[in-house]
């Protein structure tokens, strides 16, 4: 009896971890860019897709998949993000609504470009690490690894923002770009680096999910709604926001998609998103700031 309850509890925990990891990993790159510059990067899904392609490419030519190929992919996507930022996005910090159109255009070019170059899909990777059983159910080890990765990436982000010089300058820019600039911080460099960092995180997400799905030009579409609603719910502070929103939404998302369907899960996200914007326009990180504990920057 105790064993049954324990295995049920583990099942619920596993489902939650899966949803949590999915939302956090989908949102993390977007959250960094949004928190820093207030720009919603509509090419985010395509950056994830690019990460998955590059990971697959490296794994195919013999680089160990986990984590080397994924890290390489993250670096490549980060460089690509830097290029996009320097060429296009940096011209839109003064007119943010136009940046939506521009980043969307970039996304369109990337999706179609990949489609033209590699066709409707390429041969995928098999999920590593096998499975384990608890009670009567069998679980994928890799899903647990993804959950651990989500936590690790949050910790990495925390360390980068709290303990490095880049992080200090980035937080200063986030709080007040004018003052930071007058104190000698190169804010436009900060913006470029943050955009590259966010892109690299998106690429890493793509790499992490590459072995779990078909690698196709529309790979990123599966992450879009999830990432946007997590970021909106999280608010301006990338760390606290993503963590809290990932936790809260992950719970409902796994519950709804597990019990009913993906449609129910997405509908739940949409409703949660509208409710949160209604009552907490600055998201959960705004709430946590008001409660007065965590202060990473934000506004």
């Amino acid at each position: 009896m105790v064993g049954l309850i324990a295995s049920e509890a583990f099942n619920a925990f596993y489902q939650f971890l899966d949803g949590f990891a999915y939302l956090v990993l989908a949102a993390i790159g977007l959250a960094v860019i949004f928190g820093m510059m207030g720009i919603i990067n509509f090419a985010h899904g395509q950056l994830i897709m690019l990460g998955a392609y590059i990971t697959t490419f490296f794994a195919r030519i013999g680089v160990p998949l986990f984590p080397m190929a994924m890290l390489l992919a993250a670096v490549c996507v980060g460089v690509w993000g830097l290029i996009i930022e320097r060429l296009v996005v940096c011209r839109f910090y003064k007119r943010k609504l136009d940046s939506v159109v521009a980043t969307w255009g970039i996304g369109l070019i990337m999706t179609q470009g990949i489609l033209i170059m590699f066709g409707p899909n390429i041969e995928g990777l098999s999920t590593p690490f096998g499975s384990f059983t608890v009670g009567a159910e069998s679980y994928s080890v890799y899903r647990v690894v993804l959950g651990v990765c989500a936590v690790v990436m949050l910790i990495v982000m925390y360390c980068v923002f709290m303990y490095t010089r880049f992080g200090l300058h980035a937080r200063a820019t986030m709080q007040n770009a004018e003052v930071a600039r007058s104190l000698g911080v190169n804010t436009s460099l900060m913006y470029s680096l943050t955009f590259a960092f966010g892109s690299a995180l998106a690429g890493m997400t793509g790499g992490l999910y590459a072995p779990t799905a078909t690698i196709a030009p529309f790979f990123g579409d599966a992450f879009i709604l999830e990432s946007f609603s997590t970021v909106i719910m999280g608010g301006a502070n990338p760390l606290i926001g993503t963590l809290l929103a990932g936790g809260v939404l992950g719970f409902f998302y796994s519950l709804l998609s597990g019990v009913w369907s993906t449609f129910a899960g997405r509908l739940g996200l949409l409703i949660a998103m509208i409710i949160v914007i209604r009552f907490l326009p600055r998201g959960l990180s705004g709430l946590s700031l008001r409660l007065g504990r965590f202060h990473l920057g934000g506004d």
């Binding site: 939506v100 369109l108 709604l225 946007f228 949409l270 998103m273 509208i274 209604r278």
Partner: protein
């Protein structure tokens, strides 16, 4: 600000000349071209009505909706369900009206939650887009025939719903199915009506308030206007127009699939409108028709580059001509060709524009931007 210039404009301007030329060409088109070309153009024109809805809500009121295809889809599906269950010429136009109204009500409801909830700018884009994506997810999983049908109409999942009867006019024996040239003129009539209405709105008090919403919502509120209600109403009207566009599409293709709400479909109206010049009805109409034609040609020639080109157009336009290519063309022609020909000396418009920009910057600064 030029697009909303309140000074009495001279009747002869590139914009007005282009409008006259555009509608003359559209009216005469079936006389000069074959039925296949007319069929295609009526398809482009139905889409152009959705572009006009975006001009109204994005170009005028500054609500950047990325979810117009959601209302397009609602219009198409509602019309399809009604027309399949109750076919017949006498009720056909009623179903057009009902579907348009349903799409409008859906937009009003969404607008109520968004604007009264203080959702604006990029968050409004995200929310509208999310609505389209949720609609897409919902419709894609309706393949089960036993479960997902409304009367005789099977929703059909990603295979779509068919066959949707074409629109028809008249009663009993004296009815005409709108097809070919008939349908073309029907669509053209609706397009013209929408076009004229939106152009007139630009010159009314109601229209000025919409433009004020785009410039500065706080200040508009201080002037005593009910900002949320205005936004909701104009968003509702935009939704209804997109719904009308969807009905025409469903009637044209006798078929509708969830793809009409796909991510790609959500991109299309934005490209069409942004490229031409989102604040100008004539410019958006011309760019919609031309770009739809271009896309049609590109996809007919079997190339996959259509969307790369579209994306490139989008990026380049927002980078270099944020007011739109066709509006820039209008301005250039006005300044260098039309006004010199008419003997109008160039007004010191630069001065007044800098002044307007100046006050705007002050306003932005005072809001802490």
């Amino acid at each position: 600000m030029r697009a909303f210039d309140t000074r009495k404009a001279t009747a002869v301007s590139t914009e007005n000349i282009s409008t006259v030329v555009l509608f003359t060409v559209l009216l005469a088109y079936p006389l000069a071209f074959g039925s296949f070309a007319v069929l295609n153009l009526s398809y482009f024109l139905s889409f152009t009505i959705m572009s006009l809805s975006l001009t109204l809500i994005w170009g005028y009121a500054g609500i950047f909706s990325m979810g117009q295809p959601a209302f397009f889809g609602i219009g198409a599906y509602v019309y399809g369900i009604l027309a399949i269950n109750y076919p017949g010429a006498s009720v056909s136009l009623l179903w057009l009206l009902v579907a348009t109204v349903v799409a409008g009500i859906a937009a009003l409801a969404l607008g109520y939650f968004m604007f009264y909830g203080g959702v604006n700018d990029v968050f409004a884009s995200l929310t509208t887009w999310a609505v389209a994506l949720v609609g897409l997810t919902f419709l894609n999983q309706t393949a089960n025939e036993a479960r997902w049908h409304v009367g005789d109409a099977l929703l059909g999942g990603f295979n779509g719903m068919r066959p949707i009867p074409s629109l028809s006019v008249g009663f009993g024996d004296w009815s005409v199915v709108l097809f070919g040239t008939n349908f073309y003129y029907f669509v053209l009539g609706l397009f013209l009506a929408t076009f004229v209405a939106i152009r007139i709105v630009r010159r009314t008090r109601w229209g000025y308030v919409l433009v004020a919403l785009q410039d500065n919502r706080e200040r508009t509120k201080t002037f005593g206007y009910h900002v949320c209600r205005r936004q909701m109403i104009v968003f509702g009207i935009g939704g209804a127009l997109a719904g009308l566009s969807g009905v025409l599409y469903a009637s044209w293709s006798n078929f509708v699939a969830p793809d009409v709400m796909s991510i790609t479909a959500c991109t299309l109206p934005i490209v069409l409108v942004a490229a031409g010049g989102r604040k100008n009805v004539t410019a958006t109409s011309i760019s919609s028709i031309l770009l739809m034609y271009l896309m049609f040609k590109l996809s007919a020639s079997g190339t996959e580059w259509a969307f790369v080109i579209l994306g490139l157009v989008l990026v380049l336009v927002v980078l270099f001509v944020p007011n739109g290519i066709i509006v820039a063309l209008f301005d250039a022609l006005d300044a260098h060709v039309v006004k010199p020909l008419l003997g109008v000396r160039r007004r010191p418009s630069q001065v007044s524009e800098t002044a307007v920009e100046g006050t705007k910057e002050v306003a932005d600064a005072s809001r802490g931007h």
